[in-house]
């Protein structure tokens, strides 16, 4: 026997290709398909360096303008608007993140204290429900809930009847409420769903820890905060790092549906900026630049998150 041959020598590859031709027929066309629909569009990023006019059919005959679109995006009127939209995106997403985290961990802890299995399951089922509704339905429900008492605005009805406010609040016409509305809508929709992973993590905590704590006379709160919470700490940390990677994804629908001229100052996000400039105003180049900016920042954040979680000895996300 001679030493093992290089596994990548061409004869071996050809033999493998012939013997695996059926697998190749089943998969390679799908790869070409994926290249067309996910990788080819990336070539559209060249629009960022052009003064793109849809009327000119040949791509390389467009006027090439270098980085001037990038400069335009961050200066003048466009720049003010774009920087405002970055602020809105970050603010909405941080608010949503913090509120969502704290509340779903607390809810998971409270659900964990419920001893009646039937009741627990009913509550879980009900709180999961909004996750499955579309954002359009949710936006409709939110706008109804926030409207005046006369149009069925339950929140204003409650506030007025409990004498917390004198006059109904015009939630959707006052820009100062909008970030809260986004965070609140996300909370309503995803609260129950987000508890799933914590509840799963709680079930993997060693029962003997609780038994030992009982022996030592620990009370409920000590067990909650000294055993359960530390027990799910790694889950909390990894999910937090992961969501920081997606911090520019503030959602798009709720802002698009509920945003209006009166509150655009606080409601417009990067995604809506792209849509308005690109599809509605036909300024493809500037919209593409904004899109690239968002994608690049996201990729950096996601790889950073991945690196950190690897460093912390957690499972890599990618």
């Amino acid at each position: 026997m001679t030493a093992r041959k290089d596994p990548w020598n061409s004869g071996r590859i050809w033999r493998a290709i012939i013997s695996q031709r059926e697998l190749i027929f089943m998969s390679v066309p799908l790869l070409l398909y994926k290249i067309l629909f996910s990788y080819v569009p990336v070539t559209g990023w060249t629009m960022a360096f052009q003064n793109f006019k849809p009327a000119i059919r040949t791509w390389y005959k467009q006027e090439w303008v270098g980085f001037s679109n990038f400069i335009k995006l961050f200066s003048g009127i466009n720049g003010e608007r774009f920087i405002r939209d970055i602020r809105n995106t970050l603010a909405q997403s941080v608010l949503t993140l913090v509120l969502g985290y704290v509340c779903s961990i607390l809810l998971a802890l409270l659900l964990n204290e419920v001893k009646n299995v039937g009741f627990k399951r009913v509550v879980q089922n009900i709180t999961y429900m909004p996750h499955f509704l579309s954002w359009i339905i949710v936006a409709g429900l939110v706008s109804t809930a926030l409207s005046l008492p006369s149009s069925g605005g339950i929140i204003n009805t409650l506030l007025v009847n409990l004498h917390l406010v004198k006059e109904p609040i015009l939630f959707l016409s006052n820009p100062n409420h909008f970030w809260g509305i986004v965070a609140g809508s996300n909370l309503w929709k995803e609260l129950g769903w987000n508890t799933i992973i914590y509840l799963a993590a709680i079930t993997s905590i060693d029962v003997s820890l609780y038994e030992a704590a009982d022996m030592d006379g620990a009370n409920r709160y000590q067990k909650m905060f000294r055993i359960t919470l530390p027990g799910i700490k790694s889950t909390i940390v990894i999910l937090l790092i992961m969501s920081i990677g997606y911090i520019l994804e503030a959602g798009f629908e709720i802002q698009y549906f509920l945003g209006n001229g009166l509150i655009v100052e606080k409601s417009e996000t990067i995604d809506i900026f792209v849509l308005r400039y690109g599809i509605q105003m036909g300024n493809y180049s500037l919209a593409t630049v904004a899109g690239i900016f968002k994608t690049l920042v996201s990729i950096i954040l996601i790889s950073g998150a991945n690196f950190i979680s690897g460093r912390l000895g957690e499972e890599k996300l990618i």
Partner: protein, 305 residues
């Protein structure tokens, strides 16, 4: 478990349990109330709803709102398209995704690694709205039914979930079928697919929910053709016209009230409630079945290479 169940009748425990139960009931109410309210409004007389005070139960019961929306050609057509789109997406997506998952699950397949990488990478970047729109435009797929399903034939996330599942199937099954002379496609169809049914059923439900709920593809690619509109998109148009009406006093409201005027004895609010119910009911019927797979799906989802 039973051993731990020493009954604790201390005052502290009773107070905590009562408060906790009360809180969870209130929370559940907050979750269901908006939908129950919409349900009540959708079955209430349109003109009566305007007077306000409808909470959980209709005051003047009527089926008029539903009768009206199903006589509106736009809504009925959108309903049909939504159903057709969901069925086509579920079938094509499951078939192609699991076929690809089978090939990349085969350890000896020389392209398994590069293929996996090429698909997994797409989970982390997106060319963006505009380049995608230009691609669809250049492929002459604007305002066609195929734009609903063709770009969505493979989902990378589900691909990994199915591949993980297939890898747990004993390899000897595949090997013995090969010795019996079965080709790869036959093995996939006759052996692997039937064994994957539990996973595929779950994924089918998630894909169906996603497709039923999507509106952006209609908005971006097919808004120029009414006959291809979907229920969610119709609901969105109605929502934005009523919202404009309520936030900018009159002006924009003309559109909504004209629509309502055309369909007598009802109001935009009632119509919207009825469509919301029609759009929500299929989801509400399906999601309890997804329940027992939630945790499995979430934990398998961790992509491991």
């Amino acid at each position: 478990m039973e051993k731990r169940k020493r009954r604790d009748f201390s005052a502290e425990n009773i107070i905590f349990t009562t408060l906790n139960t009360a809180f969870l009931i209130l929370l559940s109410l907050a979750m269901v109330y908006p939908l129950l309210n919409t349900l009540a409004v959708s079955f209430n007389d349109g003109m009566d709803t305007v007077r306000g005070g409808i909470y959980l139960w209709p005051r003047i019961f009527t089926l008029q709102n539903f009768r009206v929306i199903f006589h509106m050609e736009t809504i009925y057509g959108a309903f049909v398209i939504s159903v057709a789109k969901t069925i086509v997406i579920v079938i094509t997506n499951l078939f192609f995704t699991s076929m690809l998952a089978y090939t990349i699950s085969r350890r000896e397949y020389i392209f398994a690694k590069p293929l996996t990488l090429a698909f997994v990478l797409t989970m982390y970047f997106n060319a963006g709205i505009i380049p995608n729109y230009m691609l669809i435009k250049n492929l002459h797929m604007l305002n066609t039914f195929s734009v609903y399903w063709v770009p969505n034939v493979i989902s990378a996330f589900n691909l990994i979930v199915i591949r993980t599942y297939i890898k747990s199937i004993p390899e000897s099954l595949v090997e013995s079928a090969k010795i019996d002379g079965s080709g790869e496609f036959r093995i996939f169809m006759r052996i692997i697919m039937p064994l994957c049914v539990p996973t595929l059923a779950t994924i089918a439900l998630f894909v169906a929910v996603g497709s039923w709920n999507s509106w952006f593809d209609t908005f971006l690619y097919n808004s120029g053709k009414q006959s291809l509109s979907t229920l969610q998109y119709e609901l969105q148009k109605l929502l934005s016209s009523t919202l404009t009406a309520s936030t900018s006093a009159q002006g924009g409201g003309a559109n909504a009230s004209a629509q309502a005027g055309a369909v007598n004895a009802t109001t935009p609010q009632s119509i919207r409630s009825a469509i919301t119910i029609v759009a929500a009911v299929p989801i509400l019927v399906v999601y309890p079945f997804l329940q027992r797979y939630f945790v499995n799906g979430l934990t398998i989802g961790g992509v491991k290479e």
